[in-house]
């Protein structure tokens, strides 16, 4: 009963979900911030495709009523298309913003490696609060004891 037919629709759904998963996986696993951004792009593309698919009727036409159209014509749902348009615009804006931020991070820290960025970030925050850096999972107490609090 649960056998999934190979239709064009199912293939598209499979593609959309796979794209999202690849993107999500990349965002969690990669360390280079630029690659993480690209994964985000993939994730958004997958989500948008999924959204468009929700309005697709296979064999449907564009939802514009023209002259000489018969009443029974199948039309695609225009709402998801409008939504995706909005989502794409928002997505592009945010990606541009993220690129600008990556630029500034590179200038400040000279690296794109997320682990190094986090390390420096934590250190900078700790310095501005005049405390020793909070211990990481890898080295729980090493940092905290050696530096001590600034008086």
């Amino acid at each position: 009963m649960m056998s999934i037919e190979v239709t064009i629709e199912n293939i598209l759904y499979f593609g959309a979900i796979s794209l999202s998963l690849i993107g999500l996986f990349g965002m969690m696993m990669l360390q280079n911030v630029f690659r993480i951004l690209l994964s985000l792009v993939l994730l958004e593309a997958g989500a948008n495709l999924l959204l468009v698919l929700s309005g697709v009727r296979i064999g449907g036409v564009a939802p514009i009523i023209t002259e000489g159209m018969s009443a029974g014509v199948v039309m695609n749902d225009p709402v998801p298309q409008a939504l995706v348009l909005t989502a794409i615009v928002i997505g592009v804006g945010i990606q541009a913003l993220a690129l600008a931020l990556i630029f500034r991070v590179k200038r400040n820290y000279g690296t794109l490696d997320l682990r190094k960025i986090r390390e420096k970030l934590e250190k900078d925050i700790a310095v501005s609060n005049e405390v020793s850096a909070p211990g990481s999972y890898q080295a729980p107490e090493k940092l905290t004891e050696s530096t001590g609090a600034n008086q």
Partner: protein, 489 residues
């Protein structure tokens, strides 16, 4: 009534006008934002009585639901609008670094926040949520701290992934039902309670949970609050996190009052409370402590949400308002308490007023009897105790245990502040904003103290409001009934 749209249009207009006007007259551009916010406050006050017992809906452009975009106005959304305007006025960057850009972003934040509390359409909620997110990225990245861009970037990644989850959730709901209007969805609630509908809701909670500092997706919190100015932290922890909860609330109350969902919220809440308090206990400076304590408090809100219906909303709103006041006040106060705990030695002896305000806030945060925080925690525990499920019994234990941890680290700080200071420590450098923020913190503390005798009437009003908001039939009828539509656009 349709003037409600001004709440969104005016701040949005101001947001884009401020940089232009600033080229001609700095004074005008500086006043533009506060004037708009003050106007909103007055406007909301005037609308309060108009709304009365009956909430109303606005149909943008005159398109009827389920096709058109709908705003839903009740006391709940009006109250949040007023709070947004007031809070933004408090943290308004009068003469700060890159003031023009910040003011513009604050107005963008205002517009999207008003939209978020008013909107009654899932996709609209998403758009406003995203707009809110963009404004906060800008604000965080714009801080003068060296680490600010890195913190903003990490925040952006987590938050964006969350937004996409939200979008996928909305997409799934649309696929199942073919509508995005929440009231219209509420009429076909049966369709949503399948596996697909529930997974859509989980995606929405995870997506919005990023900004609500929800348990697994809150790694950005200490970094962002650590690099931001204290007034921005007060805004993010006090207000923005609450707005994300409002988004979840709208969907939860109208569409997903199901046991599975409530249990899930309870578990997420419990984990949030525990993890937040434990890390806060280890913190060595005030900002970090407050950040994690705020994660724990938001966890409490999720615990409250897991109680269904009116009680849940009532407790959640109570907790949110209390947290907004206390944590907002504490962050503003923290502007005068920079540095590690050790450098704060004897601070309360040098400035007794600061010490007193701090005590007021933390007494209320902990829930020590005469303060409002006590009543909310008491009602939460009583209502949790009335549930049969064993999970709720665990939640009681966790809430009480968390209070003990909280007391331990807060009183540790109090002890340091009231210690005799033998060494001659130079007074920590005051930032340019600390004087103003101390004043606001005093004001917040005053509200906490003054509200003490009025806890009972306030909670009655909140209960009325919650009853109005939870009433799904009223909600559906207000939005879906057609006759009022005539000339309402």
């Amino acid at each position: 009534m349709n003037k409600m749209i001004l709440l969104i249009a005016l701040p949005l207009l101001a947001a884009f006008l401020i940089p232009v006007v600033a080229k001609f007259s700095a004074t005008v551009s500086r006043l533009l934002g506060p004037v708009v916010l003050a106007f909103v406050l007055v406007f909301v006050a005037l609308q309060w009585n108009v709304v009365g017992r009956d909430s109303f809906a606005i149909f943008l452009g005159g398109f009827l639901p389920p096709v058109g975009i709908v705003f839903y106005v009740d006391h709940f959304s009006l109250m949040f609008s007023a709070i947004i305007a007031a809070m933004l006025l408090v943290v308004w960057p009068w003469g700060q670094y890159t003031a023009i850009r910040q003011q513009s972003l604050y107005m963008l934040l205002a517009a999207s926040s008003f939209g978020l509390v008013l909107s009654s359409d899932l996709f609209n909620l998403y758009v406003f949520y995203e707009l809110l997110a963009v404004a906060t990225y800008g604000l965080v990245a714009n801080q003068p701290h060296k680490a600010a861009p890195a913190a903003a970037l990490r925040y952006l990644f987590v938050s964006c992934a969350g937004s996409v989850m939200l979008l996928i959730g909305i997409g799934i709901i649309y696929t199942i039902t073919g509508t995005l209007n929440i009231a219209h969805l509420a009429t076909m609630i049966g369709k949503l309670h399948g596996l697909a509908g529930l997974s859509a809701f989980i995606l929405i909670v995870v997506g919005a949970g990023v900004k609500a500092e929800m348990f697994p997706v809150n790694s950005w919190v200490p970094e962002v609050y650590g690099t931001s100015s204290k007034s921005l932290s007060a805004l993010l922890a006090g207000l923005i996190s609450k707005l994300a909860v409002v988004l979840i609330l709208r969907v939860l109350l109208m569409l997903f009052q199901v046991d599975v969902v409530l249990d899930l919220l309870l578990v997420v809440g419990i984990l949030g409370v525990l993890s937040g308090e434990m890390v806060a206990w280890r913190a060595k400076d005030v900002t970090r402590m407050l950040s994690f304590s705020s994660i724990a408090q938001l966890g409490l809100v999720f615990v409250a949400l897991s109680l269904s219906g009116t009680i849940g909303l009532w407790l959640a709103v109570g907790l949110m308002l209390h947290h907004l006041l206390v944590k907002g006040g504490l962050f503003l106060l923290a502007d005068s308490m920079p540095g590690s705990f050790n450098s704060l030695k004897g601070l309360a002896r040098r400035s007794p007023i600061l010490g007193a305000i701090f005590l007021i806030f933390i007494f209320s945060l902990l829930g020590i009897p005469p303060f409002p925080g006590f009543w909310i925690k008491l009602m939460l525990v009583i209502n949790l105790a009335q549930q049969d499920d064993v999970l709720y019994q665990i939640a009681i234990g966790v809430v009480l245990f968390a209070t003990v941890i909280e007391a331990s680290y807060l009183f540790k700080l109090v002890r340091i502040m009231y210690q005799k200071n033998d060494e001659n420590i130079i007074k920590p450098p005051q930032t340019s904003t600390s004087g103003m923020n101390l004043l606001y913190a005093k004001f917040f503390a005053l509200i906490v103290v003054v509200s003490m005798p009025f806890v009972s009437p306030i909670s009655d009003r909140l209960k009325d409001m919650s009853r109005q908001s939870v009433n799904a039939e009223n909600y559906i009828e207000t939005i879906m009934s057609q006759p009022k539509l005539g000339g309402q656009s």
